[in-house]
């Protein structure tokens, strides 16, 4: 019961080289897997491949095995993909359907597409809104939400399909610190309360330090590092791969580079 990629290679249609080269990855329900990498290292492609959208929706060529719960993604019809794996992207505004007048209906967009009966739709909508913590946004106009709120609503509307896995491609990149914290906390809550497996691509190593269990590092289309979050984020190779480590790690590195000791009292996050 996992999303599993084994030695996956992927190339976009018409591209001259592979976007992903030999990726091994495993995402289990209830776990948060962080993905970091420099820009253009293949993070977005990885999200699409893991979620089955590549090659399903965007075309291209996939080699070797990408499976969701044991089934090859290429053999899952597109609309069924959404039931297994919810995908979220950077820009909150483009993820809204623009056909609904209230957040309630927006979150219900997915279940309505599936043709569920109204009572089921209602139940799912409230469940999703609660899981993300945005019930009070239900009557609002989706077009008038702030960036952070928009992302939360998009998260709820994907959750309403009750997917077992969630894949998020830099959901906080356009948010300020407050919005980022909102989304990070909501994700942690979703993972623990709904048991969904979450794959989170992030620039902000801080976010991953906070909520990720494991982290993999992408460099030029392949996995450069993988392991428990704390260990990977502290690895010196991050800098060479063009990734900013969490502030605490970066500071520790600077201190040691100056020949000083890192004070023990800072080993845990200060108050």
């Amino acid at each position: 019961m996992a999303i599993e990629l084994r030695a996956v290679r992927y190339r976009y249609a018409g591209a001259s080289k592979d976007a992903l080269q030999s990726i091994d990855l495993r995402l289990e329900p209830g776990r948060v897997l962080g993905v970091v990498g420099a820009n253009e290292s293949g993070k977005t492609t990885l999200c699409l491949v893991a979620g089955g959208f590549a090659p399903g929706v965007v075309g291209g060529r996939l080699e070797e095995s990408a499976r969701i719960d044991g089934v090859e993604t290429t053999s899952i019809p597109t609309h069924a993909l959404a039931l297994r794996c919810g995908l979220l992207f950077q820009n909150a505004a483009t993820q809204l359907s623009n056909t609904t007048a209230t957040v309630f209906e927006e979150v219900g967009f997915g279940p309505c597409n599936l043709g569920l009966v109204v009572p089921d739709v209602i139940e799912r909508v409230w469940w999703a809104l609660k899981a993300v913590g945005v019930e009070d946004l239900a009557p609002r106009d989706p077009a008038r939400l702030s960036g952070g709120q928009g992302q939360l609503v998009a998260l709820a509307s994907v959750l309403a399909l009750r997917p077992r896995y969630l894949i998020l491609d830099e959901p906080t990149s356009e948010l300020d610190p407050a919005g980022t914290a909102l989304v990070a906390d909501a994700l942690a809550r979703v993972a623990s309360e709904t048991g969904a497996g979450i794959m989170l691509v992030e620039h902000k190593a801080e976010v991953l330090a906070r909520i990720a269990d494991e982290v993999i590092v992408l460099g030029e289309g392949s996995v450069a590092l993988a392991g428990p979050a704390a260990a990977v984020l502290a690895d010196p190779m991050l800098a060479e791969l063009g990734i900013e480590p969490p502030e605490r790690i970066g500071l520790e590195r600077d201190v040691r580079a100056a020949g000083l000791d890192w004070p023990a009292v800072l080993a845990e996050a200060p108050a």
Binding site: E174, H203, E244, L251, D254
Partner: protein, 335 residues
């Protein structure tokens, strides 16, 4: 400052040691010093430089005008208030970061600096003169504003054409224009992509391209809207290098940001905004010092980790990594 220098991309133009932001130093640096941008900004224009007249084009960075906001208020046409009675003075050569959460008015304030928005009350002075009657196109000679989203600007088929757009609008042609383009691309590390299509570059580099297109205008005042947001480590390092070089040339650099570490590392003055008002204004030492943390948090901001760590160890104000390392080293030596 070994810890700090390591962050700079080593292929960036050499920045003078005095230009790197250090919380201890203050005041503006001198005129340009051996960077790839040396020389006056707008040789294409013939008007004599005059620091008192903001409309007269002047290239020499030391003639950067001051900016003053006097009682500036702004409400959007639909009535939403965005700025309330802002009093702010930015002197030539200052490195100022304007911080706040989304909606605090910082971007709105940035757009007032080059005339894209006009205050509904109060006035804005550039070099002592009211900018009320001046078109944005004229103000663009003095105040360059780099936007947060590069995709709202890029339109040319080639990177070099994109960078040439700004200086061309300012009247430059020929060899002078080519030199500007070359220097700007060099400063952001995109020289190899001069003939590429902007949309073939990834987001990070498109953002650097958009920055280059403003740098090429060689304005004495540079305003950067969220320059590190969405950037990876290399891109962010480039931005820091660009800020350092501009500072070394005596330009006024104003950044809108919610990246507190970038702010602490590169700027000498921090203006905190909340709900359209300025709530804090001082050096990073002061603004990120323990005494003002409650106020910062009330503005939905968190001090940089170095400040938190420094406070935890009782080292005093250490907003940047460099200052933290220095203070720690000082303590070790005294022990």
């Amino acid at each position: 400052m070994s810890g700090h220098d390591r962050r700079l991309d080593h292929s960036a133009p050499a920045a003078s040691a005095g230009a790197t932001a250090d919380s201890g130093s203050s005041g503006s640096a001198g005129a340009g010093n051996g960077s790839t941008w040396s020389g006056s900004a707008q040789a294409g224009r013939s008007a004599a430089p005059s620091s008192a007249d903001p409309a007269a084009p002047s290239g020499a960075p030391s003639a950067a005008p001051s900016i003053e906001l006097e009682g500036v208020s702004f409400s959007y046409p639909d009535g939403t208030p965005a700025l309330e009675n802002i009093e702010l003075r930015i002197d030539p050569g200052e490195l100022v970061a304007i911080v706040g959460q989304n909606g605090s008015g910082k971007s709105t304030l940035a757009r007032h600096l080059n005339g894209l928005l006009r205050p509904t009350a109060g006035r804005i002075l550039l070099g002592g003169r009211d900018v009320r009657g001046l078109h944005v196109a004229r103000l663009a000679e003095r105040v360059g504003l780099a936007f947060q989203n590069p995709d709202r600007q890029l339109f040319a088929g080639r990177v070099s054409a994109e960078v040439a757009f700004g200086p061309r609008n300012l009247g430059l042609r020929g060899a002078e224009l080519d030199e500007r383009v070359r220097a700007a691309l060099d400063a952001v590390g995109l020289s190899a992509e001069a003939a590429s299509n902007p949309y073939d570059l990834g987001y990070s580099r498109r953002k650097l391209l958009s920055l280059a297109s403003v740098l090429a205008m060689r304005t004495p005042i540079l305003v950067l809207d969220e320059p590190t947001t969405g950037q990876d480590a290399r891109g962010a390092a480039r931005v820091r290098a660009v800020v350092a070089v501009a500072a070394g040339e005596g330009r006024t650099v104003i950044a809108i940001s919610h990246d507190m570490r970038f702010v602490a590392e590169c700027f000498r003055r921090v203006v905190v905004m909340r709900a359209g008002r300025v709530v804090l204004d001082g050096t990073p030492d002061v603004v990120f010092g323990e005494a003002t943390w409650p106020e910062l948090r009330a503005a939905y901001l968190e001090p940089p980790f170095a400040a938190l760590a420094g406070a935890r160890l009782g080292l005093g104000a250490t907003p940047s990594a460099a200052s933290f390392v220095a203070a720690l080293g000082q303590r070790a030596r005294n022990a």
